[in-house]
């Protein structure tokens, strides 16, 4: 079905949201791109899914999708989990866009909690679902105060959190939603991606958009933006992962999920990025647990 076909039905608009709403969201996105890392307020709409299921990401995707796009959704790296499947079918129905599970073929990728392993390109947009956009939230509960801290660049408190980590655990134990400093200015919460993915945020050729529906915030990283993970001089940032190769494809360089197999201590480490893993297996790579 093309856009013209749908326009025959008066109640229908491409990609669920009406055009004025999309304009409003696009304005917020453009502002976010102009001021990298700054949280732009926007009038988040009620979406046909509960908060926490990616309402922010869905609205951003709806605003940037065009009929020619090829759409991919990942949830914790996987294309086949409930969240990913339902959002993908949502846009198949409401936008009629082509969908794919291949990272390299997609032009818009909506993601929850991961950045794909395959390198992104300038032709792609990565849309993050963000539960809590404010990196200072649990340190300073007053929103009026955190906004002031952002505007005055008072980020000492962020290091207090890292200090507490080291004093309690001996190392920086924050392993996801690891704060980054964008272009030496705003401190940003990169959504709950593992800190393993943080280096991929930096200098990325793709546009990265972050949408928080319940919190009504959009922020963005334009292509090739510098983003540095916060750390201490004597406790540098460490993008750690499980010290195993993937059990199915044998990859040493990808982020792994741990799967418990039985109650006798059996476990399997597999790539969390299912597309990456399948592609490697298709190329003939095999891990030790592959059937």
């Amino acid at each position: 079905m093309t856009v013209q076909d749908y326009q025959a039905e008066p109640a229908y608009n491409f990609a669920y949201l009406d055009e004025q709403t999309k304009r409003m969201i696009r304005r917020a996105i453009l502002k976010g791109l102009a001021v990298p890392g700054y949280q732009v307020p926007f009038a988040s709409r009620e979406m046909p899914m509960p908060y926490g299921w990616g309402t922010g990401g869905v609205q951003v995707s709806a605003a940037v999708l065009t009929p020619d796009d090829r759409f991919k959704v990942i949830d914790q790296g996987a294309d086949d989990t409930t969240n990913a499947v339902s959002i993908r079918s949502f846009f198949e129905r409401t936008a009629g866009v082509e969908t794919t599970t291949k990272t390299a073929l997609a032009s818009v990728i909506q993601t929850r909690h991961r950045i794909p392993e395959a390198a992104l390109t300038e032709d792609q947009i990565l849309v993050y679902q963000v539960p809590i956009p404010e990196p200072l939230r649990f340190l300073e509960p007053r929103e009026s105060e955190t906004r002031k801290m952002h505007s005055l660049e008072e980020y000492g408190l962020m290091h207090v959190k890292l200090y507490e980590d080291i004093s309690r655990h001996g190392h920086i134990a924050t392993s996801y939603a690891y704060p980054v400093r964008v272009e030496g200015r705003y401190v940003m919460d990169p959504s709950p991606i593992p800190k393993f993915d943080n280096p991929k945020l930096d200098d990325c050729p793709a546009i990265q958009l972050f949408g928080a529906g319940r919190e009504q915030r959009i922020y963005a990283l334009p292509p090739y933006t510098k983003s540095v993970s916060l750390d201490f001089e004597d406790h540098p940032f460490d993008p750690s992962k499980a010290a195993h190769p993937c059990g199915l494809c044998g990859a040493e360089d990808s982020y792994l999920d741990e799967v418990i197999l039985d109650d006798k201590g059996g476990r399997l480490f597999v790539c969390s990025d299912t597309d990456y893993c399948e592609e490697r297996q298709a190329q003939g790579h095999r891990g030790k647990d592959a059937a």
Partner: protein, 258 residues
């Protein structure tokens, strides 16, 4: 003492609608000097202190502070980032309730280190070393560096708050009833500590209190406030031993004798 005042206050006035918070307060504070402000509840002491410390914007008046980099500057007209920077470096504010001045969910070491990190310290070992040093100086066992202040007694919390404020080596400390709500033996210990620190570090301080014993011990000079106005000021001993104004006489005679 230096010839230039560290803080020069002229005509500070703050109104709450028709009510007067404090009216037309002027004084000079010289480096190393401790000024006490006493008065009954509602006399405008805390309003004045908050105006001086930049927490409240006064309706009129000037508060000129002798900054390290740029000489005397009016802190009321300076930009907010500059004023907040002063609040993290050259100024310190000790609240009456330690809970207001501490982060209760952060360890003692983190509390002390926060000001260091806020001014750019990024070396964990150094920050921790300094925090331990300061805990030691305010007589908190350094073993408790990783404990949260919620596990501390009231007196320890107040001492921790003092350490957290003094770690960046401020030159002017604002104190709002620093010993209020503590029992007398703990009060005595805190006063002793404060007196030592003020002397060792050459601090200037403005102490707001209704406890005349506190100012007797700590303050060089005294201002007595009533209904938003300063009714009497002078050397502490002079004001307390030979009060001139009727209200001061009442205040001095109201102290319970044991």
């Amino acid at each position: 003492m230096s010839d230039h005042p560290l803080l020069s206050v002229t005509g500070v006035t703050k109104r709450y609608g028709a009510h007067i918070g404090c009216a037309d307060v002027s004084f000079d504070l010289y480096p190393g000097e401790v000024l006490g402000i006493v008065g009954e509840s509602g006399s405008g002491k805390s309003t004045l202190l908050n105006c001086l410390a930049g927490h409240l914007a006064p309706d009129a008046g000037q508060v000129v502070f002798d900054t390290r980099g740029h000489g005397p500057r009016d802190t009321i007209t300076m930009s907010e980032p500059e004023r907040r920077m002063l609040g993290r470096t050259d100024w310190a504010f000790v609240h009456q309730h330690a809970r207001d001045g501490l982060r209760m969910g952060v360890s003692a070491g983190g509390n002390v280190g926060e000001r260091l990190m806020a001014v750019g310290a990024r070396h964990y070992g150094d920050i921790r070393g300094k925090a331990a040093d300061w805990l030691d100086r305010v007589e908190i066992d350094t073993d408790r560096i990783d404990d949260r202040p919620s596990t501390f007694s009231g007196g320890m919390q107040q001492r921790l708050q003092i350490a957290r404020n003094l770690v960046t080596g401020p030159r002017l400390v604002f104190m709002d009833e620093p010993t209020g709500g503590l029992d007398v033996s703990v009060q005595a210990r805190i006063l002793d500590l404060l007196r030592g620190l003020v002397r060792d570090m050459g601090l200037s301080a403005i102490i707001v209190t209704h406890d005349l014993a506190v100012v007797r011990l700590l303050a060089d000079r005294l201002m007595v406030m009533k209904s938003g106005h300063v009714v009497e000021s002078g050397l502490t001993d002079q004001v307390l031993d030979d009060p001139q104004h009727g209200y001061t006489q009442l205040l001095v005679s109201s102290v319970l004798q044991v």
